[in-house]
Symmetry: C2
Subunit: 669 residues, 2 copies
Amino acid sequence: MEEGNGVGGGDAGQVLAISIATSVKDDAEAAAATPRGRWRVALPPPRSSWAKLKARTMETFFPDDPFRRLHGRRPLISKCFLAAQLIFPVLEWAPAYSLPLLKADLISGLTIASLAIPQGISYAALANLPPILGLYSSFVPPLVYAVLGSSRDLAVGPVSIASLIMGSMLRQAVNPSTNPALFLRLAFTSTFFAGLVQASLGILRLGFFIDLLSKATLVGFMAGAAIIVSLQQLKGFLGIAHFTNQMAIVPVMNSVFHETSEWSWPTIVMGVCFLTMLLLARHIGTRRPKLFWVSAGSPLASVILSTILVFLFKAQNHGISIIGELKRGLNTPSWDKLLFHGSYLGTTVKTGFVTGIMSLAEGVAVGRTFAALKGYKVDGNKEMMAVGIMNIVGSCTSCYITTGAFSRSAVNHNAGCKTAMSNIVMAVTVMVTLLFLMPLFIYTPNVVLAAIIITAVIGLIDITAVYHIWKMDKMDFLVCICAFSGVIFISVQEGLAIAVGVSVLRILLQIIRPKIGIQGNLPGTDIFRNLHHYKEATRIPGFLILSIEGPINFANATYLNERITRWIEEESEEQISLQFVLLDLSSVGNIDTSGVSFLMDLKKSTEKQDLQLVLINPVGEVMEKLQRANDLHSLFGAECFYLTTEEAVISLSSLSKRNHNNAQNEQIV
Amino acid sequence: MEEGNGVGGGDAGQVLAISIATSVKDDAEAAAATPRGRWRVALPPPRSSWAKLKARTMETFFPDDPFRRLHGRRPLISKCFLAAQLIFPVLEWAPAYSLPLLKADLISGLTIASLAIPQGISYAALANLPPILGLYSSFVPPLVYAVLGSSRDLAVGPVSIASLIMGSMLRQAVNPSTNPALFLRLAFTSTFFAGLVQASLGILRLGFFIDLLSKATLVGFMAGAAIIVSLQQLKGFLGIAHFTNQMAIVPVMNSVFHETSEWSWPTIVMGVCFLTMLLLARHIGTRRPKLFWVSAGSPLASVILSTILVFLFKAQNHGISIIGELKRGLNTPSWDKLLFHGSYLGTTVKTGFVTGIMSLAEGVAVGRTFAALKGYKVDGNKEMMAVGIMNIVGSCTSCYITTGAFSRSAVNHNAGCKTAMSNIVMAVTVMVTLLFLMPLFIYTPNVVLAAIIITAVIGLIDITAVYHIWKMDKMDFLVCICAFSGVIFISVQEGLAIAVGVSVLRILLQIIRPKIGIQGNLPGTDIFRNLHHYKEATRIPGFLILSIEGPINFANATYLNERITRWIEEESEEQISLQFVLLDLSSVGNIDTSGVSFLMDLKKSTEKQDLQLVLINPVGEVMEKLQRANDLHSLFGAECFYLTTEEAVISLSSLSKRNHNNAQNEQIV
């Protein structure tokens, strides 16, 4: 053991253990046993404010250091190619693309196309838009994503939640049945803004915004949205013509049971049959992943079967409503339909923001989930740019909001897709449908579309996750319930806002009331741990050792001051010998001016009570700021800082004993 | 040293220091030196969810344990008296009140009355209210506060900031010159709501809300408000009759320089003289605390002197505007003037909320400041109730918003006040003025009132504090600047909202991007510290030791995952021998479901890379939740937890060396 090292290891540790446990060490020995260690609390190496700002900015906005790959020594051409790969991930896989990969992507692409076509039509209806928009939106955006996106499993297209939100928010401004042309223009404009928001978040590297949607929030929100979406399907399912425009559970149930005269029994019978079939297929698909094609193919099979049935029995004359004529042909340009002025600008910006954030959260979460399964990485900010550009392009080519859909991506993954080529295959299939197969959908009954949507969204209700959250964390469960009931009783946007608000409030509350623990010594060691956690830990007479967990700032400085003062008071009442208050700052990562003032106030007030306040292991920034405050007020001398609790305890107790002896000696003299 | 204790102290520490520094220990010895310590990471003692909820609620809402004094064994009568003292702090000092105390309070009470009368009249004008309201508000509220308040130094009455805010917010709804009666009703109603908000915060023990106004916010806000208030005084100072209704700096300067024809030179000359005199007196008062009476008495002296001058020279006929007739008599009841319905309810609630919070923050801060100087305690929540009830009573007796004023409390303190009796003395003095002396104010020129306000608010611009904040913390400085420029360029409320928003965002950003540090060993010890803080700390080959500072939750789980994964990747590229990733969780006070998922994901991904993930010292709640997650997934075995970094390093390196030797032996065999 090196000399001059009195901390923790070797002799000192032994002395500590014994001196604390038995308190029979004599003065001289204790003093000898605590040479000032050669390690003291140091100031972190000086850095300019500029260097600190740069480091903090890098860490905040570029934690993944995206240009890392470009740093090494390489020829310019290779660097350019790497840079191009950063922007167009297609360049990562396209050069090495091979026939076996194509085969896999072909199968998975066709599979998701069979799912995307009926779902596309259904989701467009959910957003109060013409059904054909669902197909348009399954054609252009997947092509854009295949070039820009970094996920290999994401199946891109319209999704239920974003469709629902867009439909319900725009419906508050314009009635889609009386003014469909304006409604369509607002939908394109909202999609444009959604894309803009998404791309901006990516470019400004503000991706952490979507992290504010915690898993608990999403689970509750999804479940609520699934119920709202399913309830909306009662319109098509029961064949009701006059249905409420509202989304919340109460008006919808009112509407359903006030219009019983409109219920169409042939529609209901057909709906129940197909719903049963679809749910059964879904059950098989989830139970046996190998039979994924059963559930993946069932929507298209239902559409074909029901269309044939309607056509054969002329069921449209018996009260079963059908889709009707759909225009043949590819997407038409729609940039001239974007509305950037007038009284609807506020509505479209707001709708774009909410749908943009929600669809981004869904897309990124889905991408990350499957990337983790396959062991590759999805860059959140890059992904946001890809989804954003895809939606901006989409808004100019008659598409509405799209993102990566969970159910289709899962099918894509199970079908064995290898690259984003499966999206291209899907897009080509949709193109063929748009060009040649549209007349086949004339007789497709709306009730089957309703059944397809219900089957799709039921998977969003994740009871296991709710149970897991309940088990793990009651506060998270509360957040989940807030999101759920907010969505079903108030509205989709407000439910989301409430849940995010509660989650953020919870974090703030943790800051406002940081944990403070009394530390004790684990007998026979030099380790100090929380007394409430380790029941065997013992207090050291004369010492009050507190550890603060979390940053010290304006929001908690007053609380900390009052709480610690109360502790010291209670302590002084109990043990008269209290001499030292040790504040373990190891866990305090940040401090602000109010925090520093609190420490200085505490120092002053302890001094008034003849107590010595000692700070243990202040880290980087905290030590720096204390030093700066000291330059102004010089309250904390070097004797107030210790690197470890054990060092402080040994050194201070020997000091106090010596003082005590000196006092006794003086009395004797 | 006890046996079985291998951690940190004694042999193990020595072994660690040597084995790490030199790496020449042989296998057998190292293995022998690391017996499993008898201290392992333990689960905290089990507590029911109810007990946890109760403890958390107590800590959140009753950190000061207000009923502590009632716990002991005492006769019922004594308990009742103590309980009454909790509600009426007057019972704490009144029973022991004595003649010397009265003498001190009489002097200080008269001094603050001499300040309160001219300031009261001026501040009421600032709020666009009849001047007499300032006197009414200096009569009833101080009496209420004397009974309920726990501060001994607070001088209660109207204050500049709250007057300014109330005036400017109500003026947006009603013009005070064209409809003074309605304006008055709105002012009383807003005061009522302000009192309600204040009392509710106290009763619901939500006092921590006002902690969100950090010192940096307040310094910037006060300075901005002082400038806004001073600019408003240009109306009286220059004698302009047609003045803008807006508060921000640009319209006011426009107004001043567009109406130069209205400038009244006699008014300006008189104003400059009295302002110079008042500033001089203030300067003397701040330089020599003993001469506090010079600055305390100067406003009243100015009022008397200027009134005599105007009266003698009939100056009102030469363009100097005067207060005019004031009604003699005490406060009239005003509960019938409260407006709880109609279109102004929103305005009054909002005004009440903002002025309530602001005046509460001022009152509580002032109370705490002087309590700390004298070494007694002010209970924040009780203080809020006192201020709230005082304003509710005030709103029913023709008073507008009042709180503890900084300047008058400072004078009160310097004049040697002992108890809240000084407030009673002040109230009685104001009462005498109201009853008999009102005719004397007829000829008081408005310009002197403007000069008094300017002198009072100039003290709110605290350059030293701004410099201090700049030195300590650049982010706090930014908050301060935001508040300042928001107030002077946009509006008082919005400036405040922006500053609070920026402060809260800053806290959230600290959570979203928690600090992660690489730890190294301080040579010759068993201490591990951040490599960037302690340059001498050395890495241990084969180990990556990371410490996370701050809670792990939904807002940072993704970031932590990406950042740590990137670190592991970079590390594996640099040193091929990387075997162990140690995550020091000592500083992680809270974790939620997303946080637990992150740890489990990290465990899985490290396993895929043949790395061992070890968690160091998870504290209370974190360990509990990990245990619960383990019950569901059993990912973390007992071998994944260590109580200290040194123990983990010793134990794991001996383990790996043994495995290595075994592998070699096998190869030889």
